[in-house]
Symmetry: C2
Subunit: 570 residues, 2 copies
């Protein structure tokens, strides 16, 4: 192949593909250049004047290297990797550092393998980070546990690129032996370790970084960014659906420029479809005043350097021919996307087969549950005063409110209040665990809502004002193998949406899934869920026992500030 | 160890070593910071306020990361790796990318292994590049040939870091199969390939770089630097003894800053001892106007990035504790040097044992030669007109001059002319090859001079006006196992200096070697060698058949411009 590259580079033979008359970003010199870009096989062989077997005229268009998403959980799109690719590749993303933390919490290593194998069907490089913190906390029952020895065993797998975001920063800082075993295993395998250390500063940060952590996507303040950059951390500029820190770009200077990269972390299908992926981040960054060439460098060369992706992220000889032809560096509308030398998307549409699905049995039917009965949801209080969870719109932070509740026949009476029952039903190991709580202010009435996405262990979260409806909702989720459900106690009707892959993602296409999903969400709002909430997805964080204040897991009510289980009786 | 790092980083225990009250360069933010630098084992664990088992007060001093020489031939110092380290480590260099091209031309892979093993004795990381072009040209007889299959076989050796400067750029550009085999082997092994492509531009450069070449240390012009940077090449700023391009720093911009690094390539012991190593480059770069923090970044982080030396080249947690404490960023006088957490030099003096020498038999006694006789040096011309080599002072470029010479008894008569005989005697394989030529304008009279350093195959170069003296010189070089020799035909005296390691380097200490070397050079001048020449070392390039114009190898007179052997008869 080398001979073919060189013969084409020196113009002794035609190149396979030439982008003619292009303006392109020279990420090394930080400027725009003009010329043809010649491609042979999966490589760029040169810039200048070239002839190609195939030629694409790029007059009045600008060519940039393919974007690299430095940190993403595909699962947050609720789409299969294939369908996810069909949305982001036409936007210009050609490589992602994917941390299959969610599916691995449900399916263990089978989840990682699934993401890796499914990604082989599509023209997107999916570099798999082995999830480092499964489960995320010891306060709930997950589908899998990756202990130190499991990380040791799996980090050397060929399909594993590195070690995923190390959320358990206290485990590192306080030298938990099993935690350190994971870090040591990654170093021994020569693999990069992604970080996650929100608001960790000073000596604690020194401790965390002394473990050899390379990145952080949780920075938001000037102080935090500057300290982390100074201590060798690559800082992600995040453009997720809920969590965004595009403002980080304000802290880019001439001197620290190379240490910033882009990521999306968690981005919903609707945003991917309607707004875009990293192209949308670039658009917004430039609109907010970041130099467009710099923005491109963050999305390409910087990410390649951070993740040791040699000969990627630039338009130069021997570099991987991942190229995006955009209208301009303001709108970043991708007209053509070339992945490894092949034209794979045009005018926002994928040119690759998006219908193939890799669907192994071990990520399907993941809801293990005994048949639930109304009685399972009886909530007996000692008195009238109880701790209820409240939720802030738009975020994942919850509050704790002491409420007065009546009881009858050993069960709370919710009628006439704005309080609902909340239940987290273990669904992985048939432990029969049910965590029960109260939930105030969501607005829903007349039945139950349920979902098998419940961060990070993904048990079933149910909410409702009727025990029988809650049981029915759980049983339907079991029946469909995971997803979302609404039970209307008045009509007895059950409406659901299947998320067949681990109860987290659908094997369907994005369009039909979203259409059904919107209908279900609308139904939830019609049953009273306030518009400021995301109906189902706002529930999904009620079990995340690392974010304040009061959370509910299958093991019970958890006070995050005290970092301990707490009693519902106030 | 991780636990110890973290416990010290978080100040639960004392660090092993703390540099107190330091001002230090933050290479990530491009500025100076203040604080203590804490070290545990071979790692930096944090900056801030720390206590150490050992503390070094750095008040009024500045701490920078250890310097990394991006490309160097240790052999050019004529010193063993141990002695070389004793000169450069106290100057602040803690890692070098070493290409043992010279010794490998003499000894083959045994030369590479020797450099690798000898370097284990000293606190300097010597990363060995497998020489890619042995011999450098097919026009002479070298001690070894590393063909494609040899590179394939050896590139995967654990002690081999990458593939050395690919001087044979025509071989790549014109797709010589065995040349490409070498490149492919390096890529298959995932190893970096250093470049060497002086004045290669445009499509030829695209061809060369399409092979996946990462660096170039031969750039000198603005155009060349800008084009190479733009095409993804890391550009070295070279501070050798003869070849220097510190001026390259003028082309550093905010945008391309990360793509420049420092190297010395070829630097003599006297310069190392008297002027310094990369510290001298830094001093000069800053004197010439380069921002001192930028200069440090080129010498540290940039080199680490170029060569994928993770967690090196910065003062940050988990980074290798290679640190230089200098007086200031103007003079760069190293007060303390810390290598992998250990204090290894103080006030310019090594604190490590410099007397150990690894000296395997296979790099000693490398002069293989039948006993030479005066008749061997008879030079018979067809007529009176002959092509003679002339030499420009200070450089390695030679000229070609047609001279008139008398002959008598089938041998040229040199008496009364400023012409000398030149001979290149094959010394590796006892082929009996002798290339003969004429050499004009050097000034020497009354005997012969000889040396076993003759780029790049390192045969014996002899020069003189007396056949018997030339034979005597060759025989002495054989007897001492290589080095330099002067024969005085009047007195019959023979003076020599032994370079026992491959006939290129001495196992002695730098000081005594230099003293003897100076005496021998002085003797050469006293016998007429003009002061503008380097007496012996100027001879060493007369066989380098890639640099214009007329050269002499053991296979005959070579016209570099025609790239073919030529006849001495004009």
């Amino acid at each position: 192949m080398l001979e073919k590259y060189i013969n084409a580079a020196t113009r002794r033979v035609k190149s396979d593909l030439v982008l003619k008359n292009a303006t392109f970003v020279d990420v090394f010199s930080g400027c725009l250049k003009k010329g043809d870009i010649a491609v042979v096989g999966d490589r760029i062989v040169g810039t200048g004047e070239y002839e190609g077997e195939k030629e694409i005229d790029c007059k009045n268009l600008t060519v940039v290297p393919g974007y690299i998403d430095g940190h993403v959980h595909i699962e947050s799109s609720q789409l299969s990797p294939e369908e996810f690719a069909s949305l982001i590749v036409p936007r210009g993303t050609t490589a992602i550092i994917a941390d299959p933390h969610e599916i691995t919490n449900v399916c263990g290593m089978a989840g990682c393998e699934y993401i890796a194998n499914a990604s082989k069907n599509v023209p997107l490089d999916v570099l798999i980070q082995l999830p480092s913190c499964v489960p995320a906390t010891p306060f709930e029952t997950s589908g899998a546990v990756l202990a130190g020895k499991d990380i040791e065993e799996n980090i050397t797998n060929e399909y594993i690129f590195g070690l995923g975001e190390f959320m358990n920063y206290p485990g590192i800082i306080y030298c938990d032996p099993d935690t350190l075993k994971k870090v040591e295993a990654a170093h021994a395998a020569g693999k990069i370790i992604d970080g996650h250390a929100p608001a960790v500063y000073g000596y604690e940060l020194n401790g965390y970084l002394s473990a050899g952590i390379s990145t952080d996507h949780e920075c938001v303040t000037k102080e935090e960014i500057e300290e982390k950059i100074s201590k060798g951390v690559y800082v992600h500029i995040r453009h997720g659906s809920s969590t965004q820190n595009l403002g980080n770009a304000k802290y880019i200077t001439d001197a620290n420029m190379r240490r910033f990269l882009l990521c999306t972390d968690d981005r919903h299908a609707a945003d991917l479809k309607e707004k875009g992926h990293l192209d949308d981040a670039l658009r917004k960054l430039v609109a907010e005043g970041l130099d467009p060439v710099r923005a491109v460098i963050c999305a390409t060369l910087n990410a390649a350097e951070c993740y040791n992706l040699h000969f990627r992220g630039a338009i130069a000889p021997h570099y991987l021919a991942d190229l995006v032809v955009v209208d301009n560096l303001k709108n970043f509308n991708a007209k053509y996307v070339i992945k490894s030398g092949k034209l794979v998307a045009e005018n926002g549409k994928p040119l690759f087969d998006t219908s193939k699905r890799y669907l192994p049995g071990n990520v399907l039917n993941t809801v293990y549950l005994k048949h639930m009965k109304a009685e399972d949801f009886i909530l007996t209080l000692k008195g009238k005063r109880a701790r209820a969870i409240t939720i802030e719109p738009g975020g994942v932070v919850t509050g704790c409110e002491t409420v007065e509740v009546e009881s009858k026949n050993g069960d709370v009476v919710l009628k006439g209040t704005d309080i609902l029952k909340l239940a987290v039903v273990e669904r992985h190991k048939m432990t029969g665990n049910i965590g029960k709580g109260l939930f105030k202010g969501y607005g829903f009435k007349g039945g139950a809502l349920g979902i098998t996405i419940a961060h990070d262990s993904h048990n079933i979260i149910l909410m409702g004002d009727d025990n029988a409806s809650m049981a029915k909702a759980a049983n339907r989720l079991k029946e469909i193998g995971g997803g979302m459900v609404i039970v209307d106690s008045a009509s007895g009707e059950v409406h659901s949406l299947t998320l067949d892959i681990g109860g987290l993602m659908s094997s369907r296409d994005a369009e039909s899934l979203q259409s059904d999903s919107r209908a279900l969400i609308e139904r939830a709002h019609s049953m009273g869920v306030k518009r400021e909430y995301e109906a189902f997805m706002s529930l999904a964080f009620l079990s995340l026992a690392v974010i304040p204040k009061l959370k509910l897991t299958d093991a019970g009510l958890f006070d995050v500030e005290k970092f301990a289980f707490t009693d519902i009786n106030a």
